[in-house]
Amino acid sequence: MIPAPFDYVRAGSVDEAISLLGSREDAKLLAGGHSLLPAMKLRVARPSTLVDIGRIGDLSYAREDGDRVAVGALTRHHDVGNAEALQELCPIVAHAAGQIGDPQVRHMGTIGGSVAHGDPAGDLPAVLLALDAEFVAQGPNGTRTIAATEFFTSLFETALAPDEVLTEIRIPKANAGWSFMKFQRRAQDWAVVGVSAVRANGGVHVGLTNMGLTPLRAAGVEEAVGGGADPASAAARADEGTAPPDDAFGSAEYRRQLVKVLVRRALEEALA
């Protein structure tokens, strides 16, 4: 309920945030705070310092940029869901953002925070993975671009260095067929299992939420679809390479069954 003691500083710019992260041990970035603060209240997370980047205004945008849509890391879920560029060019992203948590969460939480938190149960990471998005990180030595396939390294761990700030998400346009299946107990819950299917490059990319330590691609399914399999037989491979959790909302065994049903339904919808 009450977090352990911590310091709080507000960064006026990305450069200031990077320098603060570098100068303080165990500092954490605070964006929307909707994952970090609950963890701190339970004293599961105990950062020494919170570097608040929530007021850096120039990181909130979504605009067409060549063959991609560029989204500022501090764009709140509500704004992601309502961004015209995304609704037209990457509709699955806008749709998924509208399914996150509840209105309070969507008005505070940010796309960058969701990605950088590295929660395999988050909605957007698997969507962005399915879309082959890229993540732009800025650190003391400049800027680099990380592919989604390289970004999510383990449970709550990403390729970001401790003194790097995620500034932009670059999403390839994908407005052909798509499907977003979020199976949840209650409207505001995390997905028990989530499936994102997007038509791309003549095939289908399939992202899986909450089926392992990181968001995953259903490679076996993608391969089967590429080889001409129908949705039902392709979906039979949906749990290949997954390691789903066992928790109060579902056993690993149940999730393995559920993901096959959801992938089949998602393929049917995306390919219709």
Binding site: M1, G250, V261
Partner: protein, 787 residues
């Protein structure tokens, strides 16, 4: 004078709502007093561990920490109150606010710190060093009763607390000869009440006078006052307990908690005000849980489905200690495993079992939802067995309608009943035949989403309760009467003081409706006071759907005394005899001369001045009355539910719900509907979503609202309510309770609907709650796979 429209029976808007809607209501956590200190409890992370050493020195050295104590630093005047020893030989462990020898559940209090702020207190908790020796824990009830189980309380040499039995007729004989015997096994899972407002306590001492005021978010300030006197030795005469605005309880605040005794004792010891508010996750282990039974249910019947007898064995999880009414909670259902059906033999045996889990006690319905889910699911099993429709099997087994108190086979003297009537009315609202056709069409098509219909024709006992009965055969230590005082002020305004402690039920409105009608004053002129032992010194508080059934008759008795006295004064003023006066709608008029009148407010003014009162009449218009009912009251009704089940994922959606309840005459239809809808929503939560889960080491896995799934508005369908009135014979008003009917009736209606949706696949049972995974497993089991 124009006759006012009766208030009783009207959907009067709630008097108390402006305070809630504008956010100005004050709950305990909103209160602070100068010099207030914060308490925080050091809790065992282990379900079972010997306490070898507690070191609070580091906490004491912290800035802002005022005091820190281990359990062994206290000497209590007595244990926390356990008021319901249901059997003579019951094992009741002495339960003190902090443990000294060993922790018996995850969350058991080991030490306490007091600091200048809540944040400091919570930081200090982390510095208290407790040397635990972890012991094997027992969570499962059957394992707890095995010979080699760890013992929660070594002194008893068993984890069995008690075995209680209710036997009517020749049970074994009936079962031996019955052509049909249905055997069912149910696990009634554990629940967490999740009142909107967590528990909170503030104790302010007046050290010079040795007086204390305790504000607590409790349902039971009166019982708590006595319990605090027992635990701490602070006499009741020196202790004032106030339950200010209380944000729901659902039974979880019908309790005497360790933190209440601790805060009082610390305020006495430190001579400073002490505050404590639980966090939600703290409450998940420190506030009592509900339900948690294993039931073996047998029904004996004729070939045609006519029921002959019931034989039920219940294992009821008590958790680590016996809380205030824990042993009696399952016993409240111990007469109801026959529901509203007939028969010639009945047996219920209840075994109370200790485990290394958070203590279990009353949760909305308390014992009756457990019994109702058993009989209502088992009668569906009987219908399947003898090949009858679930409506038909109920009709042929209902007790016939009765208007005088009648003995049930479960051993209850039931006030009145008309079970076919509520079923007929519910069917009329439900469109049963049409949905059965649609169900068949979906089955024929092999649709992924199948339709199911479930019934629950329930009977319950509430209106706690007749003191002689509950203290007699039920062996409850307390009473069940209620106390009311009516005070008529000289300006015509009325104060009604009641010993109930409403915490969301709308009783400020319903009580004012009753008093307003009795005295002929508008509802705005009736102020209802409660929840403060100095304002309402006598009473038995709010639980067991007793406010309407026991509180209202008490108010009615007090207003009758007012009218009686007012009649003498009016007759004197009008110079007629008492018998010449007619009283209606608050006005006395002279028979034959209707324009010659006196009203209650006029008499109140006369009685206040006392200038000209009849000989032998005291001044003032204020009367008190006690009401002790002669029997419980027995609401009943029929709930029908339709669900859609996704046969691939196991997901269940409630698509239609009809509730017809007979709670006697309805004082306020809006409030009654609110109680039913809220109760049904909670019951849907129980049937489909909520479950408190422990791992085998006694760690609570469903440890927060993130993974304990209380349904939200999105998951609850709109609920159609209907009403039927069979007056109770227990009180003159004919009134029954409605606070728990929804949670009692609804879970089996939903569960029966889920099974019905899948019965063509061979599914006969689904594990509670019917989560997608449990439903999926039931389908797989029916297909011959593993469960």
């Amino acid at each position: 004078m124009a006759t006012m429209e009766k208030l009783v029976g009207q959907a009067v808007l709630r008097k108390e709502d402006p305070e809630f809607l504008t956010g100005s209501a004050k709950y305990t956590d909103d209160l602070s007093v100068p010099g207030m200190l914060w308490m925080a409890v050091v809790r065992s992370p282990y379900a079972h561990a010997r306490i070898k050493r507690v070191d609070v020195s580091e906490a004491m050295a912290m800035d802002g920490v005022i005091a820190a104590f281990a359990g062994s630093d206290f000497e209590w005047a007595g244990p926390l109150l356990m008021a319901w020893p249901v059997t003579e030989g019951l094992h009741n462990p002495l339960h003190y606010p902090l443990v000294t020898d060993k922790a018996r559940y995850q969350g058991d209090g080991v030490a306490v710190v007091v600091a200048r702020s809540r944040a400091i207190a919570e930081d200090a908790v982390e510095t208290v060093k407790v040397d635990y020796e972890p012991l094997p824990a027992v969570v499962d009830m059957h394992e707890a009763l095995s010979d080699d189980s760890p013992l929660v309380h070594e002194e008893f040499r068993t984890n069995e607390s008690y075995t209680w039995a209710n036997v009517q007729g020749d049970v074994d004989g009936v079962f031996a000869d019955a052509p049909v015997v249905v055997k069912e096994h149910y696990k009634v899972h554990r629940l967490i009440a999740n009142a909107m407002e967590p528990r909170s306590i503030l104790v302010q001492p007046n050290p010079a006078a040795e007086q204390f005021t305790m504000w607590s978010s409790t349902q039971i300030p009166h019982i708590l006052r006595t319990a605090m006197a027992i635990a701490t030795g602070v006499p009741e005469s020196k202790l004032r307990i106030i339950a200010p605005r209380v944000g729901g309880g659902f039974g979880s605040k019908l309790q005497v908690y360790p933190e209440e005794a601790l805060a009082l004792e610390l305020a006495r010891r430190l001579r400073m005000p002490i505050k404590w508010t639980e966090s939600r996750s703290e409450g998940y282990t420190a506030t009592h849980h509900g339900r948690d039974q294993i039931q073996d249910v047998e029904i004996a019947a004729q070939e045609d489905g006519k029921i002959l007898g019931y034989r039920v064995r219940v294992h009821a999880n008590m958790g680590a200690y016996l809380m205030i009414i824990a042993p009696g909670t399952p016993v409240l259902g111990g007469f109801l495993f026959c529901g509203c059906y007939g028969g010639v033999a009945y047996k219920t045996e209840i075994v109370g079992v200790f485990t290394n889990t958070t203590p279990v006690d009353a949760y909305r319905g308390a014992g009756r939802p457990e019994a109702t889910q058993a009989i209502e699911r088992a009668i569906d099993a009987l219908a399947r067995r003898v090949g009858k429709d679930v409506v038909e099997i109920r009709r042929m087994n209902f007790m016939p309608p009765f208007t005088e108190a009648t003995q049930s086979i479960g051993g209850l003297m039931i006030d009145s009943g008309n079970y076919p009537a509520t079923l007929d009315k519910a069917l009329g609202l439900f469109d049963y035949e049409q949905l059965r056709k649609e169900q068949q069409a979906r089955r024929d098509n092999g649709d992924t989403k199948q339709l199911g219909i479930g019934f629950s024709t329930y009977l319950e006992n509430c209106g706690w309760g007749p003191s002689r009965v509950i203290g007699g055969i039920l062996k409850y230590a307390g009473g069940g009467w209620e106390a009311a005082t009516i005070r008529c002020h000289p300006t015509g305004k009325v104060v009604a003081v009641i010993g109930n402690t409403p915490h969301g039920q709308g009783n400020e409105t319903t009580f004012a409706q009753v008093v307003g009608d009795d005295l002929g004053v508008p509802i705005e002129d009736v102020e209802v006071l409660f929840g403060d032992t100095d304002v309402a010194p006598s009473g038995w508080d709010t639980y067991g759907s007793r406010s309407a059934a026991v509180g209202m008759p008490a108010l009615h008795r007090a207003t009758s005394k007012i009218v009686e006295k007012a009649r003498r004064i009016a007759a004197h003023e009008l110079e007629v005899s008492d018998a010449d006066l007619k009283y209606e709608g608050g006005t006395f008029s002279v028979r034959g001369a209707p324009s010659v009148t006196r009203t209650i407010p006029q008499i109140a003014f006369s009685a206040w001045r006392g200038h000209d009162l009849p000989e032998g009449t005291d001044p003032g218009l204020e009367e008190s009355a006690f009401f002790d009912p002669q029997n419980l009251v027995f609401p009943f009704g029929a709930h029908i539910c339709a669900v859609e089940v996704d046969t691939e994922t196991g997901e269940v959606e409630v698509t239609k719900y009809v509730a017809v309840d007979d709670v006697g005459p309805v004082v306020n239809p809006m409030i009654v509907e609110g109680q039913v809808v809220g109760g049904v929503a909670q019951g849907i939560g129980e049937a489909l979503y909520e479950e408190a889960v422990y791992d085998e080491n006694g760690q609570l896995l469903s440890s927060s609202m993130t993974n304990y799934a209380v349904p939200s508005a999105t998951e609850v369908p709109s609920i159609t309510t209907g009403n039927h009135v069979t007056p109770s014979t227990t009180n003159d008003m004919g009134i029954k309770g409605v606070g728990e009917t929804g949670t009692i009736a609804s879970p089996p209606a939903v569960l029966n609907a889920v099974v019905d949706a899948l019965s063509h696949l061979g599914v006969t049972q689904v594990e509670r709650p019917a989560t997608p995974e449990h439903v999926w497993r039931a389908i797989r089991r029916a297909k011959g796979g593993r469960s």
